[in-house]
C-alpha cells in the first residue's frame, strides 16, 4: 500500500509561516497589553488600600469514518510516493506545528516520540514541537490558537464546544474509553451492581473519571449516593485499593490496574464501553489552525496514526522511543512495558478494529452528547458536526 502524505506547496508554506509569525506577534502584543493592565490594576488596588487510500469506504455517510489501514512495514515515512506528481516537490520550509500532549511526559505518548525521533514528521514537511499541558488548559490553548493540535478527552470536548471554544476532535486515540473502575479480584466485585454500598476512591467529582463512574453506576440502577465516595486528589487511589482502604477506585485502564497487578494483586476492571458510549481521548485542533494548516495537520494525523500502528506491531520500538524521550522511564522498564501494552490495547475499540486506528464513531458521539446533557454538562446544544470532523483522517471525507 502506498502512503500518500501530501507535502504542502512551498509558497503556501511560506504564507503559513508569515501568517504564523504575524499571529505570534499579535499574541505577544495582546499579552503585553494584558500584563500592563494587570500591573496597573494591581497598583490601583494597592493605592486604594497525509492522506492515504481508504481501507474502506463504507460508513462515511453515517456512523463510522474509515481511518488508515495498517501501514506496510515497507512503506516509507519520508516524503511518500503519491500519485500526485506535484506533491513530489518537497516544501522549501517545513510547517511548524505545536502539539500539546498530556500533563506529564509518559510512555503513553510513545508513538509521538517514535515519529519525532525517526524523523517521520520532518519527512512529512512538519516541524513538530511538543508541550505538556493538563487537559483543560490544552483545550483553551488549542481554541485560542496558541497550540495547533492537542490531546483531549472526548468528554471535555463536548462541554468545551458547547461553551463556544472553537475546537474540533479530529482523530480517536483511545478507541476504548480508558477511564475504568478497578478493584482487587479478591474483593468480589465483578459487576457495577456489586459496587452498591462500597467505598470508591476517586481523584475528585469532576472530569472523565467522574462521568464514567456515574454512567457505570447508572447502568446498575445506582447513583453516587449509593456508594461511599472517598476523594484522593493526589491520585493515590491505587494505593488505597492495594491497602484495602477503599473497595474500588476510578483510574485508567493503562495505569492503576496495571500497577496493581504488577504489585501482585490480580485486578478486576469494570469498563464503560458497551454500556454508555463515551468518546475517549483523541486529537483536537483549533478551527483557525485547521483553516490555515489543514494539510499539515492532516499529515500530522496520518504520521501519528502510522506511528501508532508501528508501536502496535513493535511495542519495543515504542518503549525505546519513550525512554529516549523520557530517560527517567528506564528505571522501571518492565512497568513501563506493561503500561504501554495496556495503552496499545486501549487504542482499538470495535470501530477502530473495523476501520483502523483513529476512526471516529459518530454515533457514539451522538449518544455521548445525549448522556452528558442529562448530567447538565452541555449548557448550550451541540451537534456532532460541530464537535467532530473527519476530513483530517487518512481517507477521511
Amino acid at each position: 500500500m502506498i502512503p500518500a502524505i501530501h507535502p504542502r506547496p512551498s509558497h503556501r508554506s511560506l504564507e503559513v509561516l508569515v501568517s504564523s509569525s504575524r499571529s505570534h506577534s499579535r499574541s505577544r502584543s495582546r499579552f503585553a497589553a494584558l500584563g500592563l493592565t494587570f500591573a496597573f490594576l494591581v497598583s490601583a488596588c494597592g493605592s486604594g488600600s497525509a492522506t492515504q487510500a481508504p481501507a474502506a469506504s463504507a460508513g462515511c455517510g453515517g456512523a463510522v469514518v474509515p481511518a488508515s489501514p495498517v501501514a506496510s512495514p515497507a512503506c516509507s515515512f519520508g516524503y511518500p510516493a503519491t500519485t500526485d506528481n506535484a506533491s513530489h516537490e518537497p516544501s522549501l520550509a517545513p510547517t511548524a506545528l505545536t502539539v500539546g500532549l498530556g500533563y506529564i511526559p509518559s510512555v503513553q505518548f510513545a508513538p509521538f516520540y517514535l515519529a519525532q525521533q525517526q524523523g517521520w514528521y520532518k519527512d512529512a514537511g512538519l516541524t513538530v514541537t511538543f508541550q505538556n499541558k493538563i487537559d483543560p488548559d490544552l483545550i483553551a490553548l488549542v481554541g485560542a490558537g496558541s497550540i495547533d493540535v492537542g490531546i483531549a478527552d472526548g468528554t471535555s470536548v463536548i462541554p468545551a464546544v458547547s461553551q463556544a471554544i472553537p475546537i474540533q476532535y479530529i482523530a480517536t486515540l483511545y478507541g476504548q474509553f480508558p477511564n475504568v473502575v478497578f478493584a482487587k479480584a479478591s474483593s468480589g466485585i465483578k459487576t457495577a451492581a456489586d459496587l452498591k454500598g462500597k467505598k470508591i476512591g476517586t481523584p475528585g467529582r469532576y472530569g472523565s473519571g467522574w462521568i464514567m463512574l456515574q454512567a457505570l453506576l447508572g447502568s446498575a440502577g445506582l447513583t453516587t449516593n449509593d456508594v461511599q465516595i472517598v476523594e484522593y486528589p493526589d491520585y493515590t487511589q491505587r494505593i488505597a485499593v492495594a491497602q484495602g482502604v477503599v473497595d474500588a477506585a476510578t483510574g485508567f485502564s493503562n495505569n492503576e490496574p496495571v500497577q496493581l497487578e504488577l504489585g501482585g494483586d490480580p485486578a478486576t476492571v469494570l469498563h464503560i464501553d458497551g454500556i454508555t458510549a463515551l468518546p475517549g481521548p483523541g486529537l483536537i485542533a483549533g478551527k483557525a489552525a485547521i483553516e490555515t494548516k489543514h494539510d499539515a495537520i492532516a499529515a500530522f494525523v496520518a504520521v501519528t496514526l502510522r506511528a501508532m500502528d508501528e508501536v502496535k506491531a513493535n511495542p519495543k520500538a515504542g518503549l525505546d522511543a519513550a525512554i529516549a524521550a523520557v530517560p527517567e522511564l528506564a528505571s522501571d522498564r518492565a512497568g513501563q512495558a506493561a503500561v504501554l501494552t495496556a495503552t496499545i490495547d486501549s487504542w482499538t475499540g470495535p470501530v477502530q478494529k473495523e476501520f483502523g486506528l483513529g476512526a471516529i464513531d459518530s454515533n457514539g458521539w451522538v449518544d455521548s452528547i445525549a448522556y452528558m446533557t442529562t448530567l447538565g454538562l452541555v449548557p448550550n446544544p451541540v451537534t456532532v458536526d460541530r464537535l467532530v470532523r473527519t476530513d483530517l483522517l487518512p481517507g477521511g471525507d
Binding site: 494584558l34 483543560p136 485560542a144 468545551a160 472553537p166 486528589p233 493526589d234 454538562l377
Partner: protein, 255 residues
Amino acid sequence: MTQDRLVTRSSVLTVIGALVVFLLIWRAIVFIGGYPPFILPTPEAVFGRFLKAIGDGTIWPHFITTLQEVAFGFAVGAGAGVAIGYLLARSALVERLASPYLVAAQAVPILAIAPLLALWFGPGLLGKVVICSLIVFFPVAISTMVGIRSVDPRLLELGRSLRATRRQVLTTLEVPAALPSILGGMRVGVTLAVVGAVVGEWAGADRGLGVLINLARGSLFDIPLMFAALLTLALMGIVLYLAVVLVERRLVGVR
C-alpha cells in the same frame, strides 16, 4: 458639611472612579483584542453570570464553605501567630530555636505541601483550616514580634519600677503599643487566608469557591462562571480586610 464627611465622600468617589476606570480598561482590552469569552469575557458577561449564579444558588454553598474555612483558619493562624510572635519577641531562646524553622516553613510553597496536608488531615474542613492557619501564621507572628519589640523600653522600666505585674505590663503597655503592628499583620493575614482556603480546596474538596473555579474552568469550560467565582473571592477578601480595618480603627484609631 463637616471636613470628615467631605473626606469620606472624596474617598468613596475615588474608589468608584478607580472601579469605573478598571472596568473600562477591561472592556477596552476585550474590544481591541477581540478576545472570545473563553479567553477573556467582558465585565458585563461576568457580572451577568455572577448575578445568575447567585440567583440560581450556584455560588452560595461554595461561598459558605470557603468563608468557614477562612474564618476558622484565620482565627487559629492569627491566634497562634500572636502567641508565638510574643514569645519570639520576649525570649531569645525561643527566637533562636524557632526562627529558622519559621522562615524555612514560610519559604516552602504552600501549594507544594497542600496535597500532603490534605492527606494527613483529610479532605474535610480540618485540612483547609490547617492550610489557612499556616499561611496566616507567619505575617501575624512577625508583626506581633516587631510590635512587642517596639514598646518603649523606658515605659517597661517605668512599669517595673512601679512593681507592675507581668499581666499588667502585657495589658497596659505591650499590647496597646504593639496593637497597630499586630493588626497590620492581620490585615495581610486575612487576605492570605482566602488564598489558603482556595489552595486547600484545590488539594481536595467537593465544595468551596476553589472547587467552583476548577469546575468552571476544567469541566464546564464556563469562563464567565470562573470569573464570577473569582469576583466572589475578591469581594470576600475586601470585606474581611475592611472588617480588620474597622476593628483597627475602633481599637487604635485612624492611622
